[in-house]
Structure formats: structure tokens, C-alpha cells
């Protein structure tokens, strides 16, 4: 086996893993902090990809520059979704199941609205610099993956800083650790939940832009992305940002290595079998609490 080819597979896998990690941290955040299983997480990532796509194709705005706008818009959309769909559900007897059903409904709505407006043709974000590749020695690395990865790492770092260094972020953690206690010390649980959910959706949107640079996307690709999100979140441990990020890299590594040796279709089977086994034996995840 050509060592260069192997290294290329591994590197591209890891870079991809980073982006998947960003896609998943938000999902883990709402699951851990609010007991909400947000199945619509990935579909909002696709929405983010579309927003970047249209601003690039129609407005000539580079996808990387449109990231702040995408994040902002999806923050607002997340907030609205929280008020309309999530908050009523959190009053139910079984929040986890109720949120699963409700967010599934939300997913259907968003996916089909996008499909209706923008048609299910595959799209790809192709600014001029993504076509070329970087050469390190004899190893070829796709620039798109590198840029996406860098963006994902920055976003994950920002999320981490938010959670651990800002007051609101600490309030989110407090609500997560002890909802009743948080309320007792004066934290507005509704406000915190709103912000948590909105940030989660915003991060999904940004991740979508990253994914859009590498993979072609269409509304129903959210089905595949959702599976990856489940994979990373559960293996990484629900709600642990570091855990999810590291798992992203790990999964990316596994994907890269197996892609070098196995036919493509078996890579997925392997990954999902792995997830199933981990679920059966250590559902809290590798880094979970």
C-alpha cells in the first residue's frame, strides 16, 4: 500500500471529522442541557449551506465571509423554532420522546420547504480557492477540507469559550447540571434554553457551510448528516464539547483508514456497526459522564 495514499486518506478523514464534530456539538448541547433530542439539527445545517450558496451564487459573497450572516440568521431561526416548537414540548411528561416527535415534524417541514423552493438538485459551494489542492511533499490535501476544518476548529473553540468563560455560558452549564438549583439562584431557565437552542442551531448552520464546501448537498442529505450527528454525539458523550470534538477526529481517522482499505459502501456499515456496539456496551460514550 502506497504510504502517501494512506496518509492522504487519513488526513482527509481527520479534516472531515473536524467538520462533523462542529455539526454534532450543538446537538449534544441541546440534548444534555435541555433533554431535547433535536432531530432537526442537521436540516438546519443544510439550510445554512443553502444560505451560503445563494449569497455566493447570487451576491458573489464568499462563503467564508457569509458565515457570520449565516450564524446570525440561524440564531434567529433557532430562537423562533424554540418558541414555537420546543418550548411547548418541554412541558410534556416525556420531554425526550416528545421533542423527538416534534423536531421530526420540524425536520419534515424545513426539508420540504427547501425542496419546494430550491429543488432537490445537488449543490456545492465552489469558491475559486477550493478547486486546487495543497501539496505537502508528495501528499495531496484538498484545500476545501483544510479551510472547512480550520473554520470548524475556530467555531468549536468559540463555543467552548462561550460555555466556560462567559456568564451566560456558565448559566447554561448550571441549568444543565441542576435545573432546579439554577432557577433557585435566579437563572431564567427559559432565557437560557432559548439561547442554548439558538446557538445550537447557529452552530449547525456554520457547520453546514463547511460541509457545503466539501460535499454536495440537497435537502434530503440531512438524513445522512443526522446519522453522523448521532454517531459522534453518542460516541463522544452527550454534551461534552471536547469529547465530541475528539470523537469527530477519531471517527474521521477511522473513516479515512477504512476508506483506504475497504470499498466505500462498507465504510458506512463499519461505522454504524461500531456505533451500535458502543451503544450496547457504553452508551455514555467514550468521553461521556
Amino acid at each position: 500500500m502506497d504510504i502517501n495514499y494512506f496518509l492522504e486518506s487519513v488526513i482527509s478523514g481527520v479534516l472531515l471529522g473536524g467538520i462533523f464534530a462542529l455539526l454534532s456539538v450543538g446537538f449534544g448541547l441541546t440534548w444534555g442541557a435541555m433533554q431535547v433530542l433535536n432531530i432537526s439539527h442537521a436540516v438546519f445545517a443544510v439550510l445554512g449551506a443553502y444560505l451560503a450558496y445563494w449569497s455566493f451564487v447570487k451576491g458573489g459573497i464568499d462563503p467564508l465571509l457569509s458565515i457570520p450572516m449565516v450564524a446570525f440568521l440561524l440564531f434567529i431561526i433557532g430562537g423562533v423554532a424554540y418558541r414555537l416548537v420546543i418550548r411547548p414540548v418541554t412541558r410534556a411528561r416525556d420531554v425526550l420522546m416528545g421533542s423527538m416527535v416534534a423536531t421530526f415534524g420540524l425536520t419534515i417541514v424545513v426539508e420540504n420547504v427547501m425542496s419546494g423552493f430550491w429543488h432537490p438538485d445537488p449543490r456545492l459551494l465552489k469558491p475559486s480557492y477550493t478547486g486546487t489542492s495543497l501539496f505537502i511533499g508528495e501528499i495531496v490535501i484538498s484545500k476545501a477540507s483544510l479551510i472547512g476544518f480550520a473554520m470548524a476548529i475556530i467555531a468549536i473553540a468559540l463555543l467552548y469559550i462561550f460555555l466556560h468563560r462567559t456568564f451566560t455560558g456558565k448559566a447554561v452549564q448550571a441549568t444543565w447540571q441542576n435545573p432546579t438549583g439554577a432557577v433557585l439562584v435566579g437563572i431564567n431557565r427559559d432565557r437560557v434554553s432559548l439561547i442554548t437552542f439558538a446557538i445550537s442551531i447557529a452552530s449547525a448552520g456554520v457547520a453546514g457551510v463547511g460541509m457545503g464546501l466539501i460535499y454536495s448537498f440537497y435537502p434530503s442529505v440531512q438524513n445522512d448528516w443526522t446519522l453522523y450527528v448521532f454517531l459522534l454525539t453518542i460516541v463522544g458523550g452527550v454534551g461534552s464539547i471536547i469529547g465530541t470534538a475528539l470523537t469527530g477526529l477519531l471517527i474521521g481517522l477511522i473513516m479515512g483508514v477504512s476508506a483506504a482499505f475497504l470499498p466505500f459502501i462498507w465504510v458506512n456499515i463499519l461505522l454504524f456497526l461500531l456505533l451500535l456496539i458502543i451503544l450496547l456496551f457504553k452508551p455514555e460514550g467514550i468521553f461521556g459522564v
Binding site: V85, A92, L96, N112, G116, L227, I234, N268, L280
Partner: protein, 324 residues
Amino acid sequence: MENENPGKPKSSTADRFILLAVLLLLVVFPFFGPPLFFLSLFISIFLFISLTESWNLLGGYTGYISLGHVVFFSIGAFTTAVCMNCFGTSPFLTAILGGVVAGGVAAIVGFPVLRLKGAYFSISSLLLAVISQLIFLNWEFVGGSVGLWYKLMPVSIEANRVIFYEVMLGLALLITLVVRYVEKSKFGAGLITIREDEDVAKTIGINTPMLKLKAFVLGSFFAGVVGGIYGYYLSFIHPDITFNINTSLLILLMAFFGSCTTWTGPLLGAVVLSLANQLIVTFIGAEISRVLYGLILILVIIFMPNGMIEYLKMGQKVRKSQVG
């Protein structure tokens, strides 16, 4: 005679008469020569009644939400297809075998997976569906990515439809009755206890793993039988069709909509939502129908979080307390 139990609705004999009349009507309906479209619609409704009721054995009564019911449906379908292609046997005979194979797989798979709780169980079942789909897509013996064909019956299209109509009606009826029986039995009581509080159930001596497994296997058996027949009706099966995750989610939706706590719920949910979907698609448009579907799901879970039957029961209680 005074109604001794004021909570119970009076006179179930009148209800029984109505039910029997409706059933009779359904049975003779195809012989009045309605357009084939209606027969197809009813067949689809019977399919969903069967799938949703059989799903509810585990999902509704124990609270273990499985997203993998389609796996067993598919196993049944592929079993009958393979039997027909290899041995020439009619799926009407081999459907039971399909059910048994599906039940067998459920027994093996259910053993480790049913130990998980809540969301973890649901995600595992989803993974099973995905992995199974991938395996079937790459397995030459069951047609791989090409799919499998059934030999058509040597009868006219009309007769073909009528036969499937009656068979599916029979299946839906049978499965619903079995689920109703289970609900009122000790088995069902045990299942419901699991949903209410599994740990307490264990402490009072209920063998929870065995009960869950039984419910899972029984439900999967029925899904397999239905799959065996329905595959024949489609006359062509393919992993992308039979393992479709949307079907799993639709089953979930219908059960929740109707109320997964009782046997009438999935029945109502399947009928109402199938008809609603058909009406929307016919009168409003196919594209929007999916969006409306999602909206209905959201609204239902917000306003009728326990489903329609529970909502109606609650309304009945309120009315009764106001009259009394």
C-alpha cells in the same frame, strides 16, 4: 337497570352491532365495483393499521420507541420473494414463514438492544434499520441494488386488487384483535407497568426482559407476515423501498397521533392520517402535503401530546363531570 360503573360507556351491544356492520360493509365493498384507486387506498390503510398496531405492542405499551419496524416488514417481504423465486411457492403460503424469520431475527437482535433505555434504544433501532438496509443493498442473493421481482398472479388486475384487499383487511383485523387481546391480558398489564415505571415493575416480580422481548418478537412477526403479503402486492421490492426510514417515522406518527396507549389509537391514527394525506395530496398538492404532514405532527404533539384518543377521553370526562 342502573349503570353500576358510571365511568364505563353504556351498552356495548349497540357499539358491537355498528362495528360488525362496518366490517361487513368493508368486506363486501370491493364487489360493488368501485374504482381501483379506492381499493388501493384501502389496501394502504390496512397496511398501516397492521404495521402501527403491531408496532404498538412494544412502542405503545412498554414505551420503547422502535424506529426499526420496517426491518421486519422487509425481512418478511424478502423471504417471500426469495421463496417464490427459488421454489415457486406463493407468498400467501410463505408469508407465515416470513413472519417467523422476522420474529427470529427480532429475538436475536432484541436480546441485547432491549437492555437500552429511551433514546438509546430508539437510536439503536434506527441504526439496525440503516445497517440492514446497507447489507441488503450489497447482498446479491436478495437482489442487491437491483431488487427482486415476484411472479404476478394469473388473474386480472381487478381480481388481483380485490384479493389483496380482502387479505390485507383480514390481516389488519386479525392483528388489531390480537393487540386488543394482549392489551386486556396479564401480558399487556405487565407491558404497561414497564412503561409506567420499569424499575418498580422489576421489584414486583415482573420479568421485564422477557416481556419486552415477547412484545418485540410478536410485533415483528406480524410485521413480517404483512411484509410478505404486501411485497407480493407491490410485485417488486427493493431495499430502498422496504427499508425506507420515512415508513418507520410514519408508523410512529400514526401511533402517536391516535394515542399509543390503547389499541384503538393506532387504528384511528392510521385511518385518519392516511385519509388526510390522500385528501391533501389530491386537493392541495403533493409538494405541500409533506410540509402539512410535518405541521400536523408538530401541532399534534403540542396540543394533543397524548394523542387523539386520550384527548377525546379527557373531553368526555370533562363533559361528564359537568353534567353530573
